[in-house]
Structure formats: C-alpha cells, structure tokens
C-alpha cells in the first residue's frame, strides 16, 4: 500500500492551550498555580490516503476534523506525530521538496467569502499563486486564469468581477479554481458544500467528481453531511472527540456500521424516503474537548456502555478486511 500512499498520518496529535487571560496571569505571578486548560483537538490519528482515493472524514462540531485537515495541508504543525508526504516526513522537507508539498496539497474552505479578498478582482486572486511562486511567465498568467475558470465551469467573463458580484456557488467554484492554479495532486476539502443550497450543492459535488476523473486527484473530504460523504467517498472515517472511531469502505460503513456512534449518526441522518418518523434521539451533549470523558469518550452517550468503557480507551482494530472500529463490543476475548 505505502508505495502508492500520498499522505500518511502517524499518531497525529494537536493540542491547543489557550493563552492565559489577565486575571490568570496575575494569579500566576502571585504564585498561584493555574490548572492548564488543554484542548486535545486531534488525539492520535493514523490514516493513509492512497493516490486517487477519496476519503470522507465525518464528525460533529468540535471533533477535530478541520484541525486534522489543516495539519494534512501543512497549515498548522502537529504537536506530536508525523505527516508523511510521498514517503517523506513533511516536517523535514526543505527547499524544492517543501514547495512540492505545499503546492501539491491544496485546501478548499467552507466559506468562500471569507477566503477571497473582497478588494481584488477574480483574475488577481487566481493569478496570485502563479506570480508568488513564479510558476508562469507574466504573459502566460491570463491564459492560465481563463483555463482554471473553464475547468470549474465559469466563463472567462468572470475574470474581472469582484467576489461580491458572484453568487455563493460561484464563489465556491473560484475557491476550487484557485486551488487548481498550482496544479495540485491532493485536495483537502473542508465542508466545501455545507454553505450551499441543495441544487447548487449538487453542481459543486459533480464538479469535484469531474475533476477527479480528469486529473486523478486524491481528496480528503471533510463534512458533517453523511449523504454527501457517502456519495463522493471511497472510504469513510468517522471522528469523535479527536479520534477516528471507525473507518471502512463507504459501502461497508453504510451497510454494516459497527461503532455505536456511527450507528447513531446513520439513524439521525434525515432521509427523504422516510415518513412520519417517531424520533428517538441519542442522549446527551457532545462533550467539550476541554474536558473529555474518561476511557472511551463516547461512553456517556452510548447505549451499550460497559464498566470497562469508563476506564479504558478502545483501540482501532480490524473487524473485517479494510474495516476498523474502536469499540470493546468487538472484543470477544473479554466475554
């Protein structure tokens, strides 16, 4: 597998420690020890993405899926663990190799409005990376911009518009076109269709699939929407409070979800084919990553929780070919 791996994550962790506020700083100076409020945003993730593969990463707010995406794209540094790009540790890359990584892995954000400079015309936004990295001669930039526009289904007349002059769906297309400018091979898409209406969402999802067919891109597709993820992904990873709790081929996970959290998510996924449902919710809140529950972090909400789940964290283990799940219910030796 590893010879085709584009990105390999090994025991990746990211902790955030909020800066102490004024009151806390004064108290510390006065000699009082303050408890550290550490957020374990990503807490030990192993994941391999093979070339040309689409991996959907699903989870609810605060589970660390965006933080994970940003580490893969090299936008933030992991606290521990490694991101390996084409077999080499991304943290040790320098010069040409480092550029190959930063350009090869591009990120597409949820809110295209926030990621586009409102005072620049679209051709300036799109051409900037070429100019900064000197990837094309100045005279070739306009042609490259037009080419990227046509790739995402926009006509060349959009090149002189400002971001506020186009619709939300078109803005997302510009976000994609900008990523394409540097000819990447890997796209990290962070909730790229969450802000779009259903009919526009379908257009953008189709665009992602066309681009994959055309260029053989590898995607890490981050979303909270299981319907979207099922549609576009080869494999699906489910995250809960900083950990991957289940990962399997898309068909497998939707047909035979193993982890109780995955099962709950699938039950709660709204389904147009269903009528007059009697809702029975999963109990409890999503816990704060500041103060995660002990053992298996899902145990306070889990209908099958056992005493063991409170003290020990289950490991991600193979339960079928390509299907891994982190749940003690699979542990038959203990029974």
């Amino acid at each position: 597998m590893s010879d085709t791996a584009v990105i390999e994550l090994r025991d990746l962790r990211k902790r955030f420690e909020p800066r102490p506020d004024l009151a806390q700083r004064i108290l510390t100076m006065a000699g009082k020890t303050m408890p550290k409020r550490t957020v374990h945003a990503v807490n030990g993730v192993d994941l391999t993405l093979a070339r040309g593969e689409v991996v959907g990463l699903v989870g609810e707010s605060g589970c660390g899926k965006s933080t994970l995406g940003r580490m893969v794209a090299g936008l933030i540094r992991p606290t521990e663990g490694t991101v390996t790009y084409k077999g080499r540790d991304a943290a040790t890359l320098t010069g040409r190799d480092k550029l190959d990584y930063t350009l090869g892995v591009q990120m597409i954000f949820q809110d295209p409005q926030a990621s586009l400079n409102p005072r620049q015309r679209l051709h300036k936004i799109l051409g900037e990376s070429l100019r900064v990295h000197k990837l094309a001669a100045a005279k070739d930039v306009p042609a490259r911009v037009d080419q990227a526009l046509s790739e995402v289904g926009l006509s060349a007349e959009y090149r002189d518009r400002f971001p506020h002059q186009i619709s939300g769906g078109q803005r997302q297309r510009i976000g994609i076109a900008r990523a394409l400018m540097v000819q990447p091979s890997f796209l990290v898409c962070d909730e790229p269709v969450a802000a779009l209406d259903v009919s526009i969402q379908a257009q953008v999802i189709n665009l992602f699939m066309d681009l994959r067919d055309r260029h053989g891109f590898t995607y890490l597709f981050i979303s909270h929407d299981l319907g979207v993820v099922r549609h576009i992904s080869d494999r699906v990873a489910i995250m809960y409070l900083g950990r991957i709790v289940e990962i399997a081929p898309a068909r497998e996970i939707f047909a035979r979800a193993n982890h109780p959290y995955t099962q709950a998510l699938l039950t709660e996924m709204p389904n147009v084919a269903q009528r007059g449902r009697n809702f029975t919710p999963i109990k409890g809140e999503i816990p704060s990553p500041l103060n995660p529950p002990s053992g298996c972090t899902f145990h306070p909400r889990c209908p099958h929780a056992m005493p063991r789940c409170k003290v020990e964290a289950p490991k991600l283990e193979d339960i079928a070919p390509g299907h891994r799940s982190a749940c003690f219910l699979n542990d038959t030796s203990a029974a």
Partner: protein, 328 residues
Amino acid sequence: MSQDKTLLDVRGLRTAFHTEAGAWPAVDGVDFTVRRGEIVGLVGESGSGKSVTGFSLIGLIDPPGEVVAGEVIFDGVDLCKQTEEQLRKLRGDRIAMIFQDPLMTLNPVLKVGEQMREAIFTHYPKTTRKQADARCVEALEMVGIPSAATRLDNYPHEFSGGMRQRVAIAIAMLNQPELIIADEPTTALDVTIQGQILYQMQKLCRAHDTALIWITHDLGVVAELADRVAVMYAGRIVETGTVDEVLSAPRHPYTRGLLDSMPSTAEPGQRLHQIDGMAPTLAGREIGCAFRPRCPNAIARCAEVPPENTVEGERSYRCYVPLVQELV
C-alpha cells in the same frame, strides 16, 4: 375542508421590500392553511421567501419591508388588520416563534429564568412567582434539560448551542401556544442534537395539539417530521400537498429537481442530477413562471403568464406541464 379544524388560513400574502429601484416582492402571493395540531413544512432555498413568509404571518416585518396585500386569518381573525398592541398580546401566548439562532431570542445579560418568567408575566400578570418558576422548570424538563431548577439561574452563554435552542423552544412552549412558527431551528446544529430537538418538538406538538410551521431547506427533515409540505420558489408556493404526495410523486419540476439533487437519493459515485443555473434574484424575476429558465420541460407559454394554482384534491401546484407520476 373541515372548516372547524383550520387554525391558520393565509390568502394572497404579498410582502414587498421598498428600495430606491421600486418595491421588490419577496413574497408574491402565498396561500396555505394549517390545521390544529398539524405540522407543515415550508421548504425552499435561500432567497425563496420562506423566512419572510414566516415573519409576515405575525407582523415581524420591519421597514423597508411591508406586507402589502393578503390576509392571515388565525382562528377567525385577520392578523394583518390587528394593531401592534393586539399582535403583541398574541405573540408568545397563542402564537410563538423559534428562530434559527437562539441567541436572537435570548438576552445575553439576563438569566434564563428571568427571561422565561417575563414571557409568563407579560401575558398572565396575576401569576405568582412560585407558579411561574414551577412552569419554567416544567418547560425546561419537557425539552430535556437536566437539573432544570438550578439552570434557571444560568445565563445563555452557559448553555451549549443545542441546549440554547432547547431553552428557546421551552420559552416558546411556556404558554402552550396553538401555533409555533419555527424558522430553520436545527440548521446550525449537529445531527445528533438535531435528532434530540426534532424528538422534543414532535412530542410537544402531539401532547398539546400544537400546530407547527417548520421552515427549512432540508427536505429530509420535512419528510420525517411533517404532515404536509409547501415548496417555495422565488416568492411563491409552487407545490403543496401531503408529504407523501409531494415528495413521492411531485408534480412540479422544481420539487423533482430538488429531490434528485440530494446525494442521499442517488447511487454513490454517479453524477448527481443538477438543476442548472441559479435561483433568480428579486430584481431578475421572470414575467412568467420564475422557474422557467432552469426548467427542463418549459414551453412557450411559461414565459408569458405565471401559471395559476391547479388544485387536485389535497394537493396543488403551479405548472403548465406538471409531471405525471402516480403514488406507489
């Protein structure tokens, strides 16, 4: 037409926004009815006028917006003809509203208990503090907030997003309204939390025979929750009927298009059906059917006169070339 069961009857509602360039109709002739205890899903994409419709019902449209025509008959009384004073008596008592962002409902500097009591005292000034507190605790417990009595002393920021929305629902339910208008109440929430809210709403509406207008863009939620559905496009209801009629055998090509665009209805990995183009802006609407430029079945007549409402039993639609598809 069981007349006595009809709680809300909206006829020819038009809400326009006055601008320098003229009056743009965000809601352009909307008719629908809601019966007692019924859940009606009002579905549409951004800019379709679904939220403006909801706000218009209880006079929450601020200038430059204005309800320019139509009747909103609630239990025999036309709300459009009521004074602000009369409307205020109705709001929060017989009709309640839940917004997408609960922070819009909740005052950040008042304890939740104070805000809840206020809703009671405003409408029932003779209630004692003790009775009011008991009602608040009961309402919070109904929406599944643990240790409700102590939570009354918390400020809104001390609740999580899902909890805040449940507090907003509890406030809406305090005076046991006959109608709740809910504007995208679960859109900002995670699915597991959305499930909890839907569960509470369904339970509460069943327990008190409360009618509910659920404004959303999510057809999946409507399919599971609602009894009837109205689909809005460019300020008009283009199709309405029971959930089963509209979502299983839509007549309007827009409804069909929306359903087909949903990734969950398609075979994984296949291209999704897409509605080409985009929804018209207020200024750019067609003279004829607003959906015509995106419609695969449009005929010459569609460009000339907007189609009238065709009534077919419980359901109705606005289309010259309706899809024929029978309920299985």
